[in-house]
Protein backbone atom coordinates (compact mmCIF):
# COMPACT_ATOMS: atom_id res chain seq x y z
CA UNK A 1 0.00 0.00 0.00
CA UNK A 2 1.32 3.46 -0.94
CA UNK A 3 2.09 5.77 1.99
CA UNK A 4 -0.02 8.42 0.26
CA UNK A 5 -3.06 6.41 1.25
CA UNK A 6 -1.83 6.57 4.82
CA UNK A 7 -1.74 10.37 5.06
CA UNK A 8 -5.29 10.78 6.45
CA UNK A 9 -4.48 8.19 9.16
CA UNK A 10 -0.95 9.11 10.14
CA UNK A 11 -1.86 12.01 12.38
CA UNK A 12 -4.51 9.84 14.01
CA UNK A 13 -1.90 7.18 14.80
CA UNK A 14 -0.37 9.55 17.32
CA UNK A 15 -3.62 10.36 19.07
CA UNK A 16 -4.55 6.67 18.97
CA UNK A 17 -1.27 5.66 20.66
CA UNK A 18 -2.00 8.13 23.46
CA UNK A 19 -5.63 7.08 23.79
CA UNK A 20 -6.69 10.57 22.66
CA UNK A 21 -8.43 9.73 19.38
CA UNK A 22 -12.08 10.74 19.25
CA UNK A 23 -14.41 7.76 19.35
CA UNK A 24 -15.87 8.28 15.88
CA UNK A 25 -12.40 8.09 14.24
CA UNK A 26 -11.22 4.94 15.99
CA UNK A 27 -13.13 2.44 13.86
CA UNK A 28 -11.82 3.87 10.58
CA UNK A 29 -8.21 3.83 11.79
CA UNK A 30 -8.44 0.31 13.14
CA UNK A 31 -9.85 -0.82 9.81
CA UNK A 32 -6.90 0.78 7.98
CA UNK A 33 -4.39 -0.75 10.41
CA UNK A 34 -5.57 -4.26 9.52
CA UNK A 35 -4.16 -3.89 6.01
CA UNK A 36 -1.27 -1.43 6.44
CA UNK A 37 1.98 -2.83 7.86
CA UNK A 38 3.74 0.56 7.57
CA UNK A 39 1.17 2.18 9.82
CA UNK A 40 1.36 -0.82 12.17
CA UNK A 41 5.13 -0.29 12.50
CA UNK A 42 4.77 3.44 13.00
CA UNK A 43 2.06 2.89 15.57
CA UNK A 44 4.32 0.50 17.48
CA UNK A 45 6.96 3.25 17.80
CA UNK A 46 4.41 5.71 19.13
CA UNK A 47 2.96 3.10 21.46
CA UNK A 48 6.41 2.44 22.91
CA UNK A 49 6.87 6.15 23.46
CA UNK A 50 3.42 6.38 25.05
CA UNK A 51 4.27 3.43 27.30
CA UNK A 52 7.50 5.21 28.22
CA UNK A 53 5.58 8.28 29.33
CA UNK A 54 4.46 6.44 32.46
CA UNK A 55 8.12 6.25 33.47
CA UNK A 56 8.71 9.91 32.69
CA UNK A 57 6.66 10.89 35.73
CA UNK A 58 8.50 11.83 38.92
CA UNK A 59 8.31 9.32 41.71
CA UNK A 60 6.38 10.25 44.81
CA UNK A 61 6.55 8.46 48.15
CA UNK A 62 3.10 7.35 49.25
CA UNK A 63 2.10 7.68 52.93
CA UNK A 64 3.59 4.89 55.06
CA UNK A 65 0.08 3.91 56.16
CA UNK A 66 -0.64 2.71 52.63
CA UNK A 67 1.72 -0.25 53.03
CA UNK A 68 -0.11 -1.30 56.17
CA UNK A 69 -3.48 -0.95 54.46
CA UNK A 70 -2.28 -3.06 51.58
CA UNK A 71 -0.80 -5.70 53.88
CA UNK A 72 -4.17 -5.80 55.63
CA UNK A 73 -5.81 -6.83 52.36
CA UNK A 74 -3.59 -9.89 51.92
CA UNK A 75 -4.90 -13.39 52.70
CA UNK A 76 -2.87 -13.88 55.89
CA UNK A 77 -4.27 -10.65 57.36
CA UNK A 78 -7.78 -11.68 56.34
CA UNK A 79 -7.27 -15.00 58.16
CA UNK A 80 -6.06 -13.14 61.24
CA UNK A 81 -9.19 -11.01 61.11
CA UNK A 82 -11.30 -14.15 60.79
CA UNK A 83 -9.55 -15.80 63.73
CA UNK A 84 -9.99 -12.64 65.75
CA UNK A 85 -13.66 -12.75 64.88
CA UNK A 86 -13.77 -16.43 65.83
CA UNK A 87 -12.11 -15.60 69.16
CA UNK A 88 -14.63 -12.85 69.71
CA UNK A 89 -17.39 -15.26 68.84
CA UNK A 90 -16.02 -17.80 71.34
CA UNK A 91 -15.86 -15.12 73.98
CA UNK A 92 -19.37 -14.08 73.12
CA UNK A 93 -20.55 -17.70 73.31
CA UNK A 94 -18.82 -18.18 76.69
CA UNK A 95 -20.41 -14.97 77.92
CA UNK A 96 -23.81 -16.12 76.72
CA UNK A 97 -23.40 -19.48 78.52
CA UNK A 98 -22.37 -17.67 81.70
CA UNK A 99 -25.35 -15.34 81.39
CA UNK A 100 -27.70 -18.33 80.96
CA UNK A 101 -26.13 -20.08 83.97
CA UNK A 102 -26.44 -16.91 86.02
CA UNK A 103 -30.05 -16.57 84.91
CA UNK A 104 -30.74 -20.19 85.90
CA UNK A 105 -29.08 -19.60 89.27
CA UNK A 106 -31.22 -16.56 89.94
CA UNK A 107 -34.32 -18.44 88.80
CA UNK A 108 -33.42 -21.36 91.08
CA UNK A 109 -32.80 -19.01 94.01
CA UNK A 110 -36.20 -17.39 93.45
CA UNK A 111 -37.81 -20.82 93.24
CA UNK A 112 -36.16 -21.86 96.51
CA UNK A 113 -37.25 -18.60 98.13
CA UNK A 114 -40.79 -19.21 96.90
CA UNK A 115 -40.72 -22.79 98.17
CA UNK A 116 -39.45 -21.57 101.55
CA UNK A 117 -42.36 -19.13 101.73
CA UNK A 118 -44.82 -21.87 100.87
CA UNK A 119 -43.21 -24.17 103.43
CA UNK A 120 -43.44 -21.45 106.07
CA UNK A 121 -47.07 -20.77 105.19
CA UNK A 122 -47.87 -24.49 105.38
CA UNK A 123 -46.06 -24.78 108.70
CA UNK A 124 -48.02 -21.84 110.06
CA UNK A 125 -51.26 -23.33 108.81
CA UNK A 126 -50.42 -26.71 110.33
CA UNK A 127 -49.57 -25.02 113.61
CA UNK A 128 -52.83 -23.07 113.54
CA UNK A 129 -54.84 -26.18 112.81
CA UNK A 130 -53.08 -28.12 115.56
CA UNK A 131 -53.90 -25.24 117.92
CA UNK A 132 -57.50 -25.39 116.72
CA UNK A 133 -57.68 -29.05 117.65
CA UNK A 134 -55.95 -28.36 120.96
CA UNK A 135 -58.32 -25.50 121.79
CA UNK A 136 -61.33 -27.51 120.73
CA UNK A 137 -60.24 -30.29 123.06
CA UNK A 138 -60.47 -27.90 126.03
CA UNK A 139 -63.78 -27.70 127.87
CA UNK A 140 -65.12 -24.11 127.82
CA UNK A 141 -63.82 -23.29 124.36
CA UNK A 142 -65.91 -20.66 122.64
CA UNK A 143 -66.61 -20.29 118.94
CA UNK A 144 -67.74 -16.91 117.73
CA UNK A 145 -68.86 -15.98 114.25
CA UNK A 146 -66.73 -13.51 112.35
CA UNK A 147 -68.51 -11.15 110.01
CA UNK A 148 -66.57 -8.78 107.83
CA UNK A 149 -67.24 -5.80 105.66
CA UNK A 150 -66.09 -7.93 102.72
CA UNK A 151 -68.93 -9.51 100.73
CA UNK A 152 -68.01 -13.21 100.75
CA UNK A 153 -65.69 -13.37 103.71
CA UNK A 154 -67.04 -15.13 106.75
CA UNK A 155 -65.49 -17.22 109.51
CA UNK A 156 -65.07 -18.09 113.16
CA UNK A 157 -62.73 -17.48 116.03
CA UNK A 158 -61.98 -20.25 118.50
CA UNK A 159 -60.66 -19.28 121.90
CA UNK A 160 -60.55 -20.25 125.52
CA UNK A 161 -60.57 -17.28 127.90
CA UNK A 162 -57.79 -18.75 130.04
CA UNK A 163 -55.49 -19.54 127.14
CA UNK A 164 -53.03 -17.04 125.59
CA UNK A 165 -53.83 -18.11 122.06
CA UNK A 166 -56.77 -18.24 119.69
CA UNK A 167 -57.38 -19.31 116.09
CA UNK A 168 -59.13 -17.41 113.34
CA UNK A 169 -60.67 -19.38 110.49
CA UNK A 170 -61.75 -17.17 107.61
CA UNK A 171 -63.38 -18.27 104.35
CA UNK A 172 -62.79 -16.52 101.02
CA UNK A 173 -60.36 -14.00 102.42
CA UNK A 174 -59.13 -11.86 99.47
CA UNK A 175 -55.53 -12.06 98.37
CA UNK A 176 -53.58 -8.89 99.11
CA UNK A 177 -50.98 -7.06 97.02
CA UNK A 178 -47.37 -8.12 97.59
CA UNK A 179 -46.72 -4.95 99.60
CA UNK A 180 -49.53 -5.66 102.08
CA UNK A 181 -50.32 -8.03 104.96
CA UNK A 182 -53.20 -8.78 107.29
CA UNK A 183 -52.49 -7.85 110.90
CA UNK A 184 -54.37 -9.13 114.00
CA UNK A 185 -54.97 -6.83 116.95
CA UNK A 186 -56.16 -7.73 120.47
CA UNK A 187 -58.09 -4.78 121.93
CA UNK A 188 -58.44 -4.29 125.69
CA UNK A 189 -61.28 -2.58 127.55
CA UNK A 190 -59.47 0.77 127.25
CA UNK A 191 -59.28 0.49 123.47
CA UNK A 192 -55.52 -0.28 123.50
CA UNK A 193 -54.56 -2.32 120.48
CA UNK A 194 -51.78 -4.91 120.73
CA UNK A 195 -50.35 -6.50 117.59
CA UNK A 196 -51.04 -10.23 117.74
CA UNK A 197 -49.78 -11.63 114.47
CA UNK A 198 -49.42 -11.18 110.72
CA UNK A 199 -50.84 -13.45 108.06
CA UNK A 200 -51.70 -13.74 104.38
CA UNK A 201 -54.71 -15.35 102.78
CA UNK A 202 -54.26 -18.96 101.77
CA UNK A 203 -53.58 -19.61 98.12
CA UNK A 204 -53.99 -23.38 98.62
CA UNK A 205 -57.57 -23.54 99.87
CA UNK A 206 -60.75 -21.52 100.28
CA UNK A 207 -60.11 -20.90 103.95
CA UNK A 208 -57.30 -19.30 105.89
CA UNK A 209 -56.27 -20.15 109.42
CA UNK A 210 -54.36 -17.64 111.49
CA UNK A 211 -53.03 -17.87 115.04
CA UNK A 212 -53.72 -15.07 117.45
CA UNK A 213 -50.60 -14.65 119.61
CA UNK A 214 -50.86 -13.10 123.06
CA UNK A 215 -48.76 -12.71 126.19
CA UNK A 216 -51.93 -12.75 128.29
CA UNK A 217 -55.07 -14.91 128.43
CA UNK A 218 -57.49 -13.99 125.70
CA UNK A 219 -60.19 -13.45 128.34
CA UNK A 220 -58.44 -10.22 129.40
CA UNK A 221 -59.28 -8.59 126.05
CA UNK A 222 -62.53 -7.05 124.92
CA UNK A 223 -62.27 -7.69 121.19
CA UNK A 224 -60.08 -8.88 118.33
CA UNK A 225 -59.70 -6.98 115.06
CA UNK A 226 -57.97 -7.38 111.67
CA UNK A 227 -56.58 -4.57 109.50
CA UNK A 228 -54.71 -4.43 106.22
CA UNK A 229 -51.22 -3.05 106.81
CA UNK A 230 -48.03 -2.51 104.83
CA UNK A 231 -45.89 -5.63 104.46
CA UNK A 232 -44.03 -6.27 107.75
CA UNK A 233 -46.86 -4.88 109.85
CA UNK A 234 -47.41 -1.63 111.77
CA UNK A 235 -46.98 -0.50 115.37
CA UNK A 236 -50.61 0.66 115.41
CA UNK A 237 -53.41 0.17 112.89
CA UNK A 238 -53.12 2.49 109.89
CA UNK A 239 -56.41 1.55 108.26
CA UNK A 240 -60.01 0.79 109.26
CA UNK A 241 -60.51 -2.80 110.45
CA UNK A 242 -62.13 -5.27 108.10
CA UNK A 243 -63.05 -7.44 111.09
CA UNK A 244 -63.93 -6.65 114.71
CA UNK A 245 -65.18 -9.46 116.96
CA UNK A 246 -66.23 -8.74 120.52
CA UNK A 247 -65.03 -11.47 122.81
Amino acid sequence: MSRENCLPYQENLIAYSLGALDAEEIAALESHLKTCTDCQTELLDYQQIAAGLVLAVPRRLPPSSLRQKLAGRLPSAQKRTSSLFALSFKQFAAGAVLAVLLGLNIFSALQIQNLNKQQKALAERLSAEQKTIAILSQPGTQILSVNTDLTDTRGSILFHKDMATAVLILWNLPELEASQTYQIWLIDSNGEKISSGLFLSSTESDYTTASVQSAFPIGQFAAVGITVEPSGGSQQPTSSPIVVVEL
Binding site: E11, I14, A15, S17, L18, G19, A20, L21, D22, A23, D45, Y46, Q48, I49, A50, A51, G52, L53, V54, L55, A56, V57, P58, R59, R60, L61, P62, P63, L66, R67, K69, L70, A71, R73, L74, P75, S76
Partner: protein, 192 residues
Protein backbone atom coordinates in the same frame (compact mmCIF):
# COMPACT_ATOMS: atom_id res chain seq x y z
CA UNK B 1 11.46 -1.61 55.82
CA UNK B 2 14.05 -3.21 58.05
CA UNK B 3 17.62 -3.28 56.82
CA UNK B 4 17.80 -7.10 56.75
CA UNK B 5 14.56 -7.22 54.77
CA UNK B 6 16.00 -4.66 52.36
CA UNK B 7 19.19 -6.70 51.88
CA UNK B 8 17.07 -9.77 51.22
CA UNK B 9 14.86 -7.95 48.72
CA UNK B 10 17.75 -6.62 46.60
CA UNK B 11 19.04 -10.15 46.15
CA UNK B 12 15.94 -10.99 44.08
CA UNK B 13 15.23 -9.70 40.58
CA UNK B 14 11.80 -8.29 39.70
CA UNK B 15 10.99 -11.46 37.76
CA UNK B 16 11.96 -13.71 40.66
CA UNK B 17 9.81 -11.72 43.04
CA UNK B 18 6.80 -11.65 40.75
CA UNK B 19 7.07 -15.43 40.31
CA UNK B 20 6.99 -15.80 44.09
CA UNK B 21 3.96 -13.49 44.21
CA UNK B 22 2.27 -15.71 41.62
CA UNK B 23 2.65 -18.55 44.15
CA UNK B 24 1.10 -16.49 46.94
CA UNK B 25 4.28 -15.21 48.59
CA UNK B 26 3.12 -12.14 50.53
CA UNK B 27 6.64 -11.22 51.62
CA UNK B 28 7.77 -11.04 47.99
CA UNK B 29 4.68 -8.97 47.22
CA UNK B 30 5.58 -6.42 49.90
CA UNK B 31 9.16 -6.34 48.60
CA UNK B 32 7.79 -5.39 45.18
CA UNK B 33 5.62 -2.78 46.85
CA UNK B 34 8.67 -1.31 48.56
CA UNK B 35 10.48 -1.33 45.23
CA UNK B 36 7.78 0.26 43.06
CA UNK B 37 5.32 2.07 45.34
CA UNK B 38 6.86 5.48 44.58
CA UNK B 39 6.64 4.82 40.81
CA UNK B 40 3.00 3.76 41.06
CA UNK B 41 1.98 6.53 43.46
CA UNK B 42 3.78 9.05 41.21
CA UNK B 43 1.73 8.14 38.14
CA UNK B 44 -1.59 7.81 40.00
CA UNK B 45 -1.05 11.17 41.68
CA UNK B 46 -0.11 12.72 38.34
CA UNK B 47 -3.32 11.45 36.73
CA UNK B 48 -5.72 11.99 39.62
CA UNK B 49 -4.20 15.08 41.24
CA UNK B 50 -5.63 14.07 44.62
CA UNK B 51 -3.62 12.24 47.26
CA UNK B 52 -6.55 10.24 48.65
CA UNK B 53 -7.64 9.05 45.22
CA UNK B 54 -4.03 8.35 44.29
CA UNK B 55 -3.60 6.20 47.41
CA UNK B 56 -6.68 4.20 46.51
CA UNK B 57 -5.55 3.77 42.90
CA UNK B 58 -2.09 2.71 44.11
CA UNK B 59 -3.65 0.13 46.39
CA UNK B 60 -5.88 -1.12 43.57
CA UNK B 61 -2.86 -1.38 41.27
CA UNK B 62 -0.91 -3.53 43.70
CA UNK B 63 -3.94 -5.69 44.39
CA UNK B 64 -4.13 -6.26 40.62
CA UNK B 65 -0.45 -7.25 40.72
CA UNK B 66 -1.30 -9.71 43.51
CA UNK B 67 -4.18 -11.17 41.51
CA UNK B 68 -2.58 -11.15 38.07
CA UNK B 69 1.08 -11.95 38.81
CA UNK B 70 0.81 -15.16 36.76
CA UNK B 71 -0.06 -13.09 33.68
CA UNK B 72 3.26 -11.25 33.70
CA UNK B 73 5.64 -12.55 31.02
CA UNK B 74 9.25 -11.38 31.62
CA UNK B 75 10.26 -11.81 27.98
CA UNK B 76 7.68 -9.18 26.91
CA UNK B 77 9.11 -6.33 28.98
CA UNK B 78 10.16 -5.00 32.34
CA UNK B 79 7.91 -5.50 35.35
CA UNK B 80 7.94 -1.78 36.09
CA UNK B 81 6.50 -0.99 32.63
CA UNK B 82 3.78 -3.61 33.06
CA UNK B 83 2.96 -2.39 36.57
CA UNK B 84 2.89 1.29 35.59
CA UNK B 85 0.67 0.55 32.60
CA UNK B 86 -1.77 -1.06 35.03
CA UNK B 87 -1.42 1.95 37.36
CA UNK B 88 -2.00 4.40 34.48
CA UNK B 89 -5.17 2.60 33.35
CA UNK B 90 -6.41 2.18 36.90
CA UNK B 91 -5.95 5.89 37.57
CA UNK B 92 -7.64 6.90 34.29
CA UNK B 93 -10.60 4.63 35.06
CA UNK B 94 -10.86 6.23 38.47
CA UNK B 95 -10.59 9.69 36.93
CA UNK B 96 -13.52 8.92 34.63
CA UNK B 97 -15.45 7.61 37.59
CA UNK B 98 -14.79 10.70 39.62
CA UNK B 99 -15.29 12.96 36.58
CA UNK B 100 -12.57 15.11 38.01
CA UNK B 101 -11.22 16.77 34.96
CA UNK B 102 -9.38 19.82 36.04
CA UNK B 103 -10.43 23.25 34.76
CA UNK B 104 -8.41 24.69 31.88
CA UNK B 105 -6.87 27.41 34.02
CA UNK B 106 -5.20 24.78 36.22
CA UNK B 107 -4.71 22.21 33.53
CA UNK B 108 -1.00 22.37 33.29
CA UNK B 109 1.83 23.19 35.59
CA UNK B 110 5.07 22.40 33.72
CA UNK B 111 7.23 22.93 36.79
CA UNK B 112 5.16 20.57 38.91
CA UNK B 113 4.94 17.91 36.23
CA UNK B 114 8.43 17.75 34.88
CA UNK B 115 10.74 19.40 37.36
CA UNK B 116 11.70 16.36 39.42
CA UNK B 117 14.35 14.17 37.89
CA UNK B 118 13.59 10.44 38.16
CA UNK B 119 15.80 8.21 40.20
CA UNK B 120 18.83 7.14 38.23
CA UNK B 121 18.65 3.38 38.27
CA UNK B 122 21.17 2.13 35.78
CA UNK B 123 19.70 -0.43 33.46
CA UNK B 124 19.45 -0.07 29.70
CA UNK B 125 15.70 0.20 29.90
CA UNK B 126 15.89 2.86 32.56
CA UNK B 127 18.44 4.77 30.52
CA UNK B 128 16.08 4.87 27.56
CA UNK B 129 13.16 6.00 29.67
CA UNK B 130 15.35 8.61 31.25
CA UNK B 131 16.28 9.89 27.80
CA UNK B 132 12.60 10.05 26.98
CA UNK B 133 12.03 12.01 30.15
CA UNK B 134 14.62 14.58 29.12
CA UNK B 135 13.21 14.60 25.60
CA UNK B 136 9.77 15.47 26.97
CA UNK B 137 11.34 18.20 29.07
CA UNK B 138 12.93 19.73 26.02
CA UNK B 139 9.58 20.08 24.18
CA UNK B 140 7.97 23.52 23.87
CA UNK B 141 5.43 24.16 26.65
CA UNK B 142 2.38 24.06 24.35
CA UNK B 143 3.44 20.63 23.02
CA UNK B 144 4.03 19.26 26.51
CA UNK B 145 0.63 20.59 27.48
CA UNK B 146 -1.28 18.57 24.88
CA UNK B 147 0.67 15.41 25.72
CA UNK B 148 -0.08 15.94 29.37
CA UNK B 149 -3.83 16.32 28.84
CA UNK B 150 -4.00 13.45 26.35
CA UNK B 151 -1.92 10.91 28.20
CA UNK B 152 -2.17 11.82 31.87
CA UNK B 153 -5.74 13.13 31.89
CA UNK B 154 -7.19 10.73 29.33
CA UNK B 155 -8.69 13.49 27.17
CA UNK B 156 -9.47 13.13 23.49
CA UNK B 157 -8.19 15.71 20.98
CA UNK B 158 -11.65 17.32 20.83
CA UNK B 159 -11.82 17.58 24.61
CA UNK B 160 -8.33 19.13 24.72
CA UNK B 161 -9.40 21.67 22.09
CA UNK B 162 -12.47 22.52 24.15
CA UNK B 163 -10.62 22.77 27.45
CA UNK B 164 -7.76 24.90 26.11
CA UNK B 165 -9.92 26.90 23.72
CA UNK B 166 -7.73 26.01 20.77
CA UNK B 167 -8.89 24.94 17.28
CA UNK B 168 -8.92 21.14 16.91
CA UNK B 169 -6.39 21.42 14.08
CA UNK B 170 -3.96 23.22 16.41
CA UNK B 171 -4.27 20.46 18.98
CA UNK B 172 -3.58 17.81 16.34
CA UNK B 173 -0.61 19.73 14.95
CA UNK B 174 1.00 20.24 18.38
CA UNK B 175 0.39 16.65 19.41
CA UNK B 176 1.91 15.37 16.17
CA UNK B 177 4.91 17.69 16.46
CA UNK B 178 5.54 16.59 20.05
CA UNK B 179 5.30 12.88 19.36
CA UNK B 180 7.38 13.03 16.18
CA UNK B 181 10.08 14.85 18.12
CA UNK B 182 10.01 12.22 20.84
CA UNK B 183 9.99 9.44 18.27
CA UNK B 184 13.07 10.88 16.60
CA UNK B 185 14.99 11.01 19.87
CA UNK B 186 13.67 7.58 20.83
CA UNK B 187 14.93 6.02 17.59
CA UNK B 188 18.29 7.79 18.03
CA UNK B 189 18.58 6.24 21.49
CA UNK B 190 17.95 2.76 20.08
CA UNK B 191 20.65 3.29 17.44
CA UNK B 192 23.12 4.30 20.20
Amino acid sequence: MQFVEYLLSISFSDSELVQKVAHGDERAFLMLYDRFASHVYGITLRVLGDSMLAEEATQDTFLKLWGRARQFIPSQGALVSWLLTIAHRTALDRLKLENRRIPASNAYDPEEVWSIIPDENTTNTDARWRSLYFAVQSLPVDQRQVIDLAYYKGMSQSEIAEVLGWPLGTVKTRLRAAMQSLRGQWLDEIVK
